[in-house]
């Protein structure tokens, strides 16, 4: 399904989704981030990529698995499977769209994670193609994507100046467009050519190449014990920016958070975790198999470009550029992959 949506009628479409939680990028505190669309919100889709990717809407940083308490000496568990309203995220950039099916794979291949899927099944991603890259660190095309890639998105919008071209990609996406009713118009004769022109122009911007993508996995395997990793990680400060902001990093920790020890009351909670923190691999014995910064950098890069390829047949990096732009010390996954490939 393909339609045209005049920009001044976007709000009409959003208003028709009144049973849904609708989120859109908003510029607050000097960063773009997703925020709930309220009655008075003016939706501004001139955003660069949001600082947080949309993975949080299926995989929140904190998920309660169940609550526990002790009543008359008997432990009691209360399940807390999430039951969210349908959630529509508007303005998802195509790199982040491609991140979602990768997360879906992780949370379903061997074991279908009920918490993830309770949210994911009610999540609708409305993408917005990029008419130009947002920074020199956008590398979507170098990892097999495109500024107008459809993978993972339910709807793809393309900015045509005063109007959006809106394409339903999945059945869910088609239904969402149908709910906009009259807000949408049919395509005019010149529109398909115009969309093709905008997409081609966006793709023509040069991007930094990610080595020879096909040979990267092999190169990483061959250089597993190389001193390069330690050298490249020499100034890494071991924070969690690269993983927490990544649209496809999905590691987690599970803890019991006790609120009242006398009554044995509390919650079992899943929170994001992070391969760059030293305690991530700390054994109860005190031994840490990834005790240095080099092995942790290698882990992250190898997960994106080797292990994920081995396990699931594709790279896990979708080229959003966040880990590059936000790294406090300039560690650059494109340069890292490049050096390992050419070593």
């Amino acid at each position: 399904m393909e339609k045209i949506l005049s920009k001044d009628r976007l709000r009409e479409w959003v208003d028709a989704l009144d049973d849904c939680e609708v989120l859109a990028p908003a510029f607050a505190d000097s960063v773009w981030n997703y925020a709930r669309v309220e009655a008075e919100t003016v939706i501004d889709l001139s955003h660069t990529n949001t600082i947080n990717p949309p993975k949080q809407f299926a995989f929140p940083q904190r998920e309660v698995f169940f609550r526990f308490e002790r009543a008359d000496g008997v432990p009691r568990l209360t399940p807390t499977l999430p039951d969210p309203r349908p959630t529509v995220v508007i303005g998802v950039r195509p790199c982040d769209g491609r991140g979602m099916p990768r997360n879906d794979t992780v949370f379903s291949k061997e074991f279908k994670d009920p918490y993830y899927w309770a949210r994911r099944e009610r999540l609708v991603l409305v993408g917005l193609a990029c008419n130009q890259p947002h920074s020199p660190n956008c590398v979507c095309q170098s990892v097999g994507g495109a500024p107008h890639a459809e993978e993972g998105l339910d709807v793809l919008m393309t900015d045509l100046g005063d109007r959006f071209h809106v394409k339903g990609i999945t059945a869910k996406g088609g239904e969402l467009i149908a709910r906009g009713g009259d807000a949408f118009a049919s395509l005019q004769a010149g529109d398909p050519a115009e969309v093709a022109r905008v997409h081609a122009a966006a793709s023509s911007h040069p991007q930094r190449p990610v080595a020879e993508l096909g040979t990267v996995a092999e190169a990483i395997r061959a250089r597993f014990d190389s001193p390069l990793w330690e050298e490249m990680a020499r100034h890494c400060i071991g924070c969690g920016i690269c993983t927490y902001l990544c649209p496809t990093c999905h590691c987690f920790d599970i803890n019991d958070e006790v609120t009242n020890p006398n009554h044995g009351t509390g919650e079992r909670v899943r929170t994001w975790d992070n391969c760059q923190f030293p305690d991530f691999t700390m054994h109860t014995s005190g031994h840490n198999p990834r005790g240095d910064l080099g092995s942790r950098l290698r882990q992250r890069v190898a997960h994106k470009f080797l292990y994920f390829v081995e396990n699931h047949g594709t790279q896990q990096c979708t080229g959003c550029g966040r880990c590059i732009s936000e790294c406090p010390v300039g560690i650059d996954i494109v340069a890292v992959v490049d050096r390992v490939s050419r070593a």
């Binding site: 505190d29 000097s30 960063v31 981030n33 660069t48 600082i51 947080n52 940083q61 904190r62 947002h134 920074s135 020199p136 660190n137 930094r208 020499r234 100034h235 400060i237 071991g238 924070c239 969690g240 920016i241 927490y244 902001l245 920790d253 803890n255 958070e257 909670v269 929170t271 994001w272 975790d273 992070n274 923190f277 305690d279 700390m282 054994h283 109860t284 014995s285 005190g286 590059i324 732009s325 936000e326 406090p328 010390v329 300039g330 650059d332 494109v334 340069a335």
Partner: protein
């Protein structure tokens, strides 16, 4: 002006003569406009050193890393190379080194401080640069006197008033040249007149208590607990932090009972209460120690105004005790000293 070639030559000479085992400095990054930290072990690599307004990191952080590695080598019964390490230091980096010396974390003879002047201006705030048209595509930023930066985008060079790009910490900086140094490149500029010290925190504390709490709830709510603020801070050098899940390292001798009954001061959940605990604990642990390099605020991906927390405490230290962290490594530290004339009106 700092003569960068002279700086490189000085670093190369130190390495050539074997007077230091490494030089910690800045080099061009591979992505974007910012310089990145580097450690030079061979004289030949000194060519890669740079000094410009994109040299944001507080390099004293790497002296801490270095000391930890030296200590680790010692526990492995290796005799570490005992020669000093040299560090390229702007005003705030040198103040951080002074605090590390004052706290006996480092010994004066273990570090050679290569001071660089901030040319009467300071370093840029990358968010201010990114907010300008084409700012994200800048390939270079250079000093252009005290009042301007020269920004290069593609082939075009533009002069931008320094005030529009300077990091907030630099606007409020009281000592934009490294007072503590073994050699200084560039001139000491004392007159700056950009912004009064503590301006931002003074403005923020004008709000009512309710309004301030609402503001900080809003900020703590979006904290990801990526701990970049702590990781980048040269003063956050505790080997174990109370907020970590494995607080206090397990050894083969730690019993199961000990592990099970260990107090967790801070839950892993990035909720307002836990993040407030983290940030307030950190701020208190930095009282009289934070030298306002602003790195914690700079690296925060969600832009939480962390400087306000630390500068609030530094303002109290200054106004009540005339104490400035990093001013003089010979002074007694704020929390370990007492003078008869110290105000005590807050003791109730």
């Amino acid at each position: 002006m700092v003569n960068v070639d002279a700086l490189r030559g000085y670093a190369a000479d130190l390495l050539e003569k074997g007077q230091v085992r490494a030089v910690i400095g800045y080099r061009r990054g591979t992505a974007g406009v910012l310089a990145q930290p580097c450690t030079i072990d061979e004289a030949g690599e000194a060519e890669t050193l740079v000094w410009d307004p994109t040299c944001l990191n507080n390099l004293a952080r790497y002296l801490v890393e270095d000391r930890q590695q030296q200590a680790a080598a010692q526990t492995r019964n290796k005799t570490p190379d005992g020669r000093p390490v040299a560090i390229v230091a702007k005003g705030c980096d040198s103040r951080a080194v002074a605090v590390l010396l004052q706290e006996n974390y480092l010994k004066r003879e273990d570090v050679v401080i290569i001071g660089v002047s901030c040319e009467g201006s300071g370093v840029i705030d990358p968010r201010k640069l990114a907010a300008r048209p084409e700012g994200r595509w800048a390939s270079r930023v250079d000093f252009a006197g005290a009042d301007a930066f020269k920004v290069t985008v593609g082939g075009d060079e533009t002069l931008i008033p320094a005030r529009d790009l300077l990091a907030d910490r630099c606007l409020e900086c009281r000592a934009a040249a490294p007072a503590l140094n073994d050699v200084l490149f560039g001139e000491v500029v004392t007159e700056r007149g950009l912004d009064e010290p503590f301006r931002a925190v003074k403005a923020a504390q004008g709000a009512t208590e309710d309004a301030r709490w609402a503001t900080w709830e809003h900020h703590f709510d979006r904290c990801l607990r990526c701990f970049a603020c702590r990781a980048v801070c040269p003063m956050c050098y505790c080997p174990e932090c109370v907020v970590d899940s494995t607080t206090f390292v397990n050894t083969p001798g730690t019993t199961a009972e000990e592990k099970a009954t260990r107090i967790r001061w801070c839950e892993r959940s990035a909720s307002v209460s836990e993040s407030a605990l983290y940030h307030l604990t950190r701020a208190i642990h930095l009282a009289g120690r934070c030298i306002d390099c602003g790195e914690c605020e700079r690296v925060c991906p969600v832009n939480i105004p962390l400087r306000l927390l630390n500068t609030k405490l530094e303002m109290e230290a200054f106004e009540q005790f005339q104490y400035e962290a990093g001013r003089d490594f010979g002074q007694a530290s704020l929390l370990s000293s007492f003078r008869d004339e110290d105000p005590n009106s807050f003791i109730r």
